[in-house]
């Protein structure tokens, strides 16, 4: 309720998207995206991470979970590029395999936020009246909690595990999507082509999914990209607190947490997984910012 005055650039983008529909929005936006240096850097980072995740078994130099107590806390060397942790596991290999987990967390958590948020926001915006009232009051209640705290509370209820952390982070992201989609739908709903679709007797479901939502896509795409970064950050935070991934899963936040005790003697156990998280989130933020600029040329001026 109390967050409204932040100017919402995503809404404007939709209007522009409509105007440019005839000139093929997709190609124009793509050209703008490819011209921006930052989004290219973001795209490169994301590509490297995805390739790493797919080729993890070939890139990793060791098994990510094999313990070797005599080799514990070894500094980075030719044998162990990023050193070893408290159980003698190779940190480089664990980070490489961790990429798979982080991508999965990002996609599943944001997938939950997006599906639930888009449905709630679209239904609220399209039907209005009491449906809108009820949905938006529930969203208000969710937004009355700082997000990481709500995620912690949800995990407290569901029990600590990687799956539950993903669900919690996903639920916490719902209000963002719902609000963005609702305001996008509100303005598309009044356009003439929607009115025309209604006039020829289109059913609500068809109008919503064939006419209204496709024309609200730009802000949803931007929020999804930026949301992946936030989701990784929140999920890593939960794992760091012991409420997400459990040992011996090579999840970056959990790895960081394992290294805390040895900060004095083996700072690399903490340093490298953190850098991995940072790089991952940075990639999605760069790309997301670029996407927003590309889909909303007005902002770039």
């Amino acid at each position: 309720m109390s967050l409204q005055p932040i100017p919402n650039p995503e809404i404007k983008s939709k209007e522009i998207a409509e105007q440019q529909k005839s000139k093929s929005l997709g190609i124009e936006a793509l050209l703008r995206l490819l011209k921006s240096k930052t989004s290219i850097i973001g795209l490169i980072i994301i590509t490297i991470l995805i390739v790493t995740a797919i080729l993890a078994p070939f890139i990793a130099t060791h098994d990510p979970t094999t313990q070797s107590i005599p080799d514990r806390y070894q500094a980075p060397s030719g044998e162990h590029w990023l050193g070893t942790d408290e159980l003698g596991r190779d940190i480089f290999s664990r980070i490489v395999y961790g990429t798979q987990i982080s991508i999965r967390i990002g996609l599943i958590a944001v997938g939950i936020s997006m599906i639930v948020g888009v449905i709630l926001g679209a239904v609220a915006g399209y039907f209005g009246r009491w449906v809108d009232q009820i949905i938006m009051r529930v969203i208000d209640i969710m937004m009355a909690f700082p997000s990481i705290l709500l995620a912690i509370a949800l995990v407290a209820v569901l029990g600590p595990s990687l799956t539950n952390a993903m669900i919690a982070v996903g639920i916490v992201g719902v209000p963002q999507f719902a609000r963005i989609v609702r305001s996008a739908v509100l303005s598309v709903k009044e356009t003439e082509y929607v009115e025309a679709a209604r006039a020829i007797g289109g059913k609500h479901g068809r109008i919503l999914f064939r006419h209204v939502l496709p024309n609200s896509m730009a802000p949803i795409i931007v929020q999804t990209t930026l949301g992946i970064g936030t989701a990784i950050l929140d999920a890593a935070g939960l794992s760091f607190l012991g409420l997400g991934a459990q040992p011996p899963t090579p999840e970056w936040g959990a790895m960081l947490s394992d290294g805390r005790a040895a900060l004095q003697n083996a700072p690399w156990v903490v340093a490298f997984p953190g850098l991995a998280i940072f790089l991952f989130v940075l990639g999605f933020n760069l790309f997301g910012d670029g996407l927003r600029d590309a889909l909303d040329p007005k902002l770039k001026e």
Partner: protein, 334 residues
């Protein structure tokens, strides 16, 4: 104005009721018997029944909720299962710690963020603009718990110039009045304690300031850029007014409203969301309190504290909104 405020306060009631239902429901959403989940697998039947009785779990939900709400309204936040202490009394110690940390972080974030944002906007596309916006992007992409640990490694382990945890060194005496240690040490004229508590505040404060600082800098820059394009700025330039006067008197004043909104939102987040920072630096605030309660399955603490944090968060946001409308005469009070 008063009408607007009272209308907004009225609108808060359904949200707060919803929040209280959510906080109350937490304990009942736990799979299985909450009493067993608190006591663990080895608990005997009689222990379980005693705890169920103590928590009032045998009553119907609406009776339990009524009791929960009634207690809260009377100012009785219940009792911690782990420490047996009154939650209200514990919060009186934890809340000032969190507020002190959040206020310090916010002051740093506002000063650095606004200055960086203004310079970046005035010197758009300069090396400073590029550097500070890159730094801001790094700031929002960084896991704060990692930054905190790296700071501890650098300043406490390697250089040994700052204490890694807590609010006060052992051996330093401080007579507490308000539980805001900086304030208390000033009030009692205890400069040793002031220096000590400030050095404890420095690292967690800076770590916590990172994200709001980055967001404020970005917001200030974009808001300033928008204002600097306006006609009256061109007029001021044409009149030959001094650049500093134009930037600070004409532009910043009008660019500050969106920044204010961001500041309010971020401050609310810091007050309730400092779980990670407080945990890393063992800062005895409410974020760490909730976290330890979650680990220890101390549900009454989780319920009450989450409710209190939500109320604070909602109120800070409300105050931001009211300030926003108050400061911008163009916005009418409906």
């Amino acid at each position: 104005m008063i009408k607007y405020i009272s209308r907004r306060l009225l609108m808060l009631i359904p949200v707060l009721i919803g929040v209280s239902i959510l906080a109350f429901s937490l304990i009942h959403l736990v799979p299985g018997d909450p009493a067993r989940s608190i006591l663990g697998e080895k608990a005997t039947q009689s222990q379980l029944e005693a705890l169920q009785e103590e928590l009032g779990l045998n009553d119907p939900y609406y009776v339990q909720y009524g009791r929960f709400l009634g207690d809260i309204l009377k100012g009785n936040l219940g009792e911690s299962i782990q420490s047996k202490e009154s939650i209200g009394v514990e919060l009186l110690h934890k809340l000032p710690a969190t507020i002190e940390l959040a206020v310090f972080a916010m002051i740093v974030a506002i000063i650095v963020g606004v200055i960086a944002g203004v310079i970046a906007a005035v010197k758009q596309y300069s090396w400073f603009d590029n550097m500070s916006m890159t730094a801001a992007l790094f700031g929002v992409s960084m896991p704060i718990f990692w930054l905190g640990l790296m700071m501890i490694w650098l300043f406490s382990v390697t250089f040994d110039i700052l204490p890694p945890s807590g609010r006060l060194s052992t051996g330093v005496e401080l007579h507490t009045i308000t539980n805001f240690y900086l304030l208390d040490s000033i009030l009692t004229g205890n400069w040793l304690a002031f220096k000590d508590s400030f050095s404890h505040l420095l690292m967690p404060g800076l770590a916590l300031a990172t994200i709001p600082m980055a967001i404020i800098a970005r917001m200030t820059r974009s808001s300033m850029l928008e204002v600097m394009r306006q006609d009256y700025i061109r007029t001021a330039n044409a009149k030959g007014l001094k650049k500093t006067l134009i930037v600070f008197q004409h532009a910043l004043k009008n660019a500050s409203l969106p920044v204010l909104t961001v500041i309010g939102l971020q401050f609310g987040l810091l007050l309730g969301g400092a779980v990670l920072t407080e945990t890393i630096f063992s800062w005895p605030g409410i974020g760490r309190y909730v976290y330890l309660a979650v680990l220890g399955r101390d549900y009454p603490v989780v319920q009450s504290t989450i409710l209190i944090i939500a109320i604070i968060f909602v109120l800070v946001n409300l105050i931001t909104d009211i300030l926003y409308k108050y400061l911008d005469p163009r916005i009418k009070f409906e």
